[in-house]
């Protein structure tokens, strides 16, 4: 890995910006095949003691890396800013080819900087490309300060204390920027598969006959289940009511166009990673569809009212949490209109 590093204690944003320019110039002078990538800025606000863990996560996102990462590590009691700038290229340039470089700025700063974090970060972002803000350890004041700089806010609703708070915060942010929610992205394969299951002409009409949905989820991922059911409700025209707790689950109903739909969210204590564990959907005509995590993909089962049953595996490798984060960064360049509507419907189901 080739590159250059600069660091300074008790520094200023303008000094950091100058160092960035200087390092890029030096890198290009070493070999004209080094090319800075220009896709998006990622501004990350973290607690300093967890800085390494977050940097490791970012290192593992693989091909979906941002071009310039500005990591703001918040240290209790700190009043000055220390900075490190690193320009790296994963590979040395091969003859006739270019080597992409990445830029990482690490700022150690204190809580007092957060309310005006925009004044520190503004000189450091590449202009005219998307800026994404991610604050995995809270610090909402930092996110609020950066909102006018950013087009996209990356959140993980699973990390909020409860579903109501998660939905309220996501809705608040969605009024100011495009929200990419990792909790929503974890449900993408499930949504794709449910859409595919009902896509063949023979089964499309069953969508209108759905009368029960059971979602199993990791214990801390109730919001993921709510978002999934919110998605179904928004797409199929259901009017959901609030769910109530019963025997550790959440249960309730949505008013469908043809019939009411029973909704149940069931925590799965055996699941260690955030997200969904399984989905069961029943229809008034007796069809039952289930999807569960399994080896090599999702284990699927379909049965009809005559008892005919079919099982198969929907192929796909687990993306892992690093893959989900990478997907979140990539989604910052796209627009998914379904999330906001799912969020609105999920709010109606919050107990």
């Amino acid at each position: 890995m080739a590159g250059g590093v600069w660091s300074e204690r008790d520094t200023t944003p303008s000094a950091v910006e100058e160092a960035l320019r200087q390092l890029i110039t030096e890198q290009c002078a070493r070999h004209d095949a080094y090319a800075p990538s220009r896709v998006l800025n990622l501004v990350v606000v973290v607690d300093r003691e967890w800085r390494g863990e977050i940097m490791n996560r970012l290192d593992r996102v693989g091909r979906y890396h941002p071009s310039r990462t500005i990591l703001c590590a918040v240290e209790h009691g700190r009043t000055t800013i220390d900075a490190t700038v690193a320009i790296t290229a994963v590979d040395d340039p091969k003859p006739g080819e270019l080597a992409l470089t990445r830029e990482r700025v690490v700022l150690d700063l204190g809580p007092r900087h957060l309310e005006r974090l925009d004044t520190i970060v503004d000189p450091l972002v590449v202009t005219d490309i998307a800026t994404v803000v991610w604050s995995p350890h809270g610090h909402p004041e930092a996110v609020d300060a950066l909102l006018h700089l950013a087009q996209v806010v990356l959140v993980d609703s699973v990390n909020e204390p409860d579903s109501a708070a998660a939905i309220a915060r996501a809705r608040e942010l969605a009024g100011e920027a495009y929200v990419v929610d990792l909790a929503w992205l974890r449900s993408t394969p499930w949504r794709e598969r449910v859409a595919a299951t009902f896509d063949p002409a023979a089964w499309r009409d069953e969508l209108g006959r759905i009368d029960s949905v059971t979602v199993r989820h990791q214990s801390q991922s109730t919001i993921a289940g709510l978002l999934f059911c919110g998605w179904l409700a928004s797409r199929l025209g259901w009017q959901p009511g609030s769910l109530v707790a019963a025997n550790g689950s959440l249960r309730g109903q949505a008013h469908g166009r043809r019939q009411d739909v029973k909704i149940e969210l069931v925590p799965d204590a055996t699941m260690s990673v955030p997200g969904l564990a399984g989905i069961e959907i029943g229809t008034a005509s007796g069809m039952r569809i289930s999807l569960y995590r399994g080896p090599g993909g999702l284990s699927a089962r379909r049965s009809d009212r005559k008892g005919r049953e079919s099982t198969w595996t929907v192929l796909g490798a687990s993306r892992g949490e690093a893959g989900i984060l990478g997907e979140g960064i990539r989604q910052a360049l796209l627009r998914d209109p379904a999330y906001r509507r799912a969020l609105d419907q999920a709010e109606a189901m919050v107990p």
């Binding site: 949504r191 299951t197 896509d199 969508l207 090599g296 993909g297 192929l315 990539r330 999330y339």
Partner: protein, 504 residues
């Protein structure tokens, strides 16, 4: 009987990957080189990403008499060796568990009966008729045989689902062969069922040519004979023929790259904006471009002589293993074409391709006309050059524009500088392999990136007279060029005054 139109699937909004009907892919030539190196790894990578249809089966058909399990093991080894990512064992296990193998020769009725049985079994097990995609990854002489047998055995249609046939290149080796093949294929199948593959069209950068031209208003006003001086399309390879002597010596550079890939690049460059990006609207415009091209008189062919490539001495083409000592096959071809329509009248388009050239590069270079008045000439601005816009397909995928810029100093002296845009620097994702994209398109039924029958016929109409003429020339007329060089000196004869080949 009146049919009731079904409502669209309301669940697909916002999804990046739309559902694809359950599909069984049948690869004829399942033990062949293409299947091992490209098709099976592409299928695996689609599975890995969760991009395959929700329910998917694979059947390989080939001559080797081996049981299912041996084929699965062979497929596993190919995927491990050639996949662009390290396979996930669980996904691979599950994928291979759905693979079956049917041995036999392609003219043997029994393999189609057995194939029919396997296909029906998959359908019955799922309770739904699967779409069927037959991929003909075989020698071209088997294309009509297989299509004919599919028709005889009723495998060309399947109630409640779609049947599609993917045909690999070469689609004929001469125009009459291509027309006859089209006739035979279309006597069994409808054109909408036929997917003639040209893997160049699956490359992201080639598709980006459409985005570049039709999503950027700044280029359209100059994209015509008033501003463009000439165009060069280059597909140079630094390698020799390797182990492909058997194929290449029959084919040659003109058939191997010009008739298909390079004419595809040309049509994308020259086509009018389509009304929509639907398969037929795009292909209609491409065919119009081909229709406006007369078979060229200005052509050069050559064969590589021994030389030095990557620091090593390499043999001449005729000394390559498997190549006859007196082979007349060209390893280099260059043409000068014109598109005789309002937009392109009088703009020469130079095509060149070759093996064992100085470097591997595929690019389209559009040279604009020089500025009408050189105010800087008095200042000794010998460096003022026309603007050149280069669309690079490989190895770097991107666009370069050369601009005149002032050399720092007190005098007004100009030299060209490059403004480069590299696709990899501006997007987060890597391009998928061309075969992944094209396999999915075939399963989805999207024929935009596949070649239509009239397109093939037009391509051959342009190329056939060149083959005819070259075939009648004596061997002594075949020039040579040093391996590792930029090509034969004779190529310069094609250029009109003031034009020059770009350095390879």
């Amino acid at each position: 009987m009146a049919t009731v139109e079904q409502q669209p699937n309301p669940l697909i909004e916002g999804l990046e990957r739309f559902p694809v009907h359950p599909t069984t892919l049948v690869i004829f030539g399942g033990t062949g080189d293409l299947a091992h190196r490209k098709l099976l790894p592409a299928v695996y990578n689609l599975a890995h990403e969760g991009a395959l249809p929700e329910r998917f089966n694979l059947i390989a058909v080939s001559r080797s008499d081996i049981p299912h399990d041996d084929y699965r093991q062979m497929a596993r080894e190919s995927i491990v060796k050639h996949s662009r990512r390290k396979p996930d064992e669980q996904v691979l296990d599950k994928l291979l568990a759905r693979v079956r193998y049917v041995p036999g020769t392609f003219d043997d009725d029994s393999i189609y009966e057995r194939l029919d049985g396997e296909l029906r079994e998959f359908d019955e097990e799922a309770g739904i008729p699967f779409n069927r995609v037959f991929y003909l990854s075989t020698a071209p002489e088997f294309f009509p045989v297989i299509v004919g047998k599919l028709g005889e055995h009723g495998l060309d249609q399947h109630e409640g689902s779609e049947v599609r046939v993917v045909i690999e290149k070469p689609f004929g080796t001469r125009r009459h062969e291509a027309l006859e093949l089209n006739r035979q294929v279309l006597s069994v199948l409808d054109e909408s069922q036929v997917f003639r593959i040209d893997h160049y069209l699956g490359k992201e950068t080639v598709q980006n040519m459409l985005a570049f031209r039709f999503a950027n208003g700044m280029f359209e006003p100059i994209w015509n004979r008033n501003y463009i001086d000439y165009v060069q399309i280059t597909a140079a390879e630094d390698l020799g023929i390797g182990t492909r002597a058997g194929y290449y010596d029959k084919s040659g550079a003109l058939r191997d790259l010009v008739q298909n890939h390079m004419l595809q690049l040309l049509t994308l460059l020259c086509m009018e904006p389509p009304v929509t990006f639907s398969a037929d609207d795009v292909r209609d415009e491409k065919v119009k471009v081909l229709h406006a091209i007369k078979p060229p008189e200005a052509t050069v062919r050559a064969q590589y002589a021994a030389g030095m490539a990557e620091g090593k001495m390499v043999p001449a083409y005729r000394e390559e293993e498997g190549v006859p000592d007196d082979s007349p096959t060209e390893t280099y071809a260059a043409l000068r074409l014109e598109v005789d329509n309002w937009r392109w009248e009088g703009v020469p388009i130079y095509l060149r391709t070759g093996k064992r050239l100085a470097r591997k590069v595929t690019e389209i270079a559009v040279t604009l006309k020089p500025v009408p008045h050189l105010a800087f000439e008095a200042e000794g601005s010998i460096g003022v050059k026309p603007n050149v816009l280069v669309m690079a397909v490989q190895p770097n995928e991107g666009v370069t524009i050369s601009l005149g810029a002032k050399i720092p100093g007190t005098r007004m002296r100009i030299r060209p500088v490059n403004m480069e845009f590299l696709y990899g620097t501006a997007f987060l994702s890597q391009s998928p392999e061309a075969y992944e994209r094209l396999l999915m398109d075939a399963m989805r039924g999207d024929a935009t990136l596949f070649t239509r029958d009239d397109e093939v016929a037009e391509q051959w109409r342009i190329i056939d007279p060149i083959l005819e003429r070259w075939g009648s020339e004596k061997d002594g007329a075949l020039p040579t060029y040093l391996a590792g060089s930029g090509g034969p000196v004779e190529a310069a004869q094609l250029l009109l005054d003031g034009h020059a080949w770009r350095t390879i």
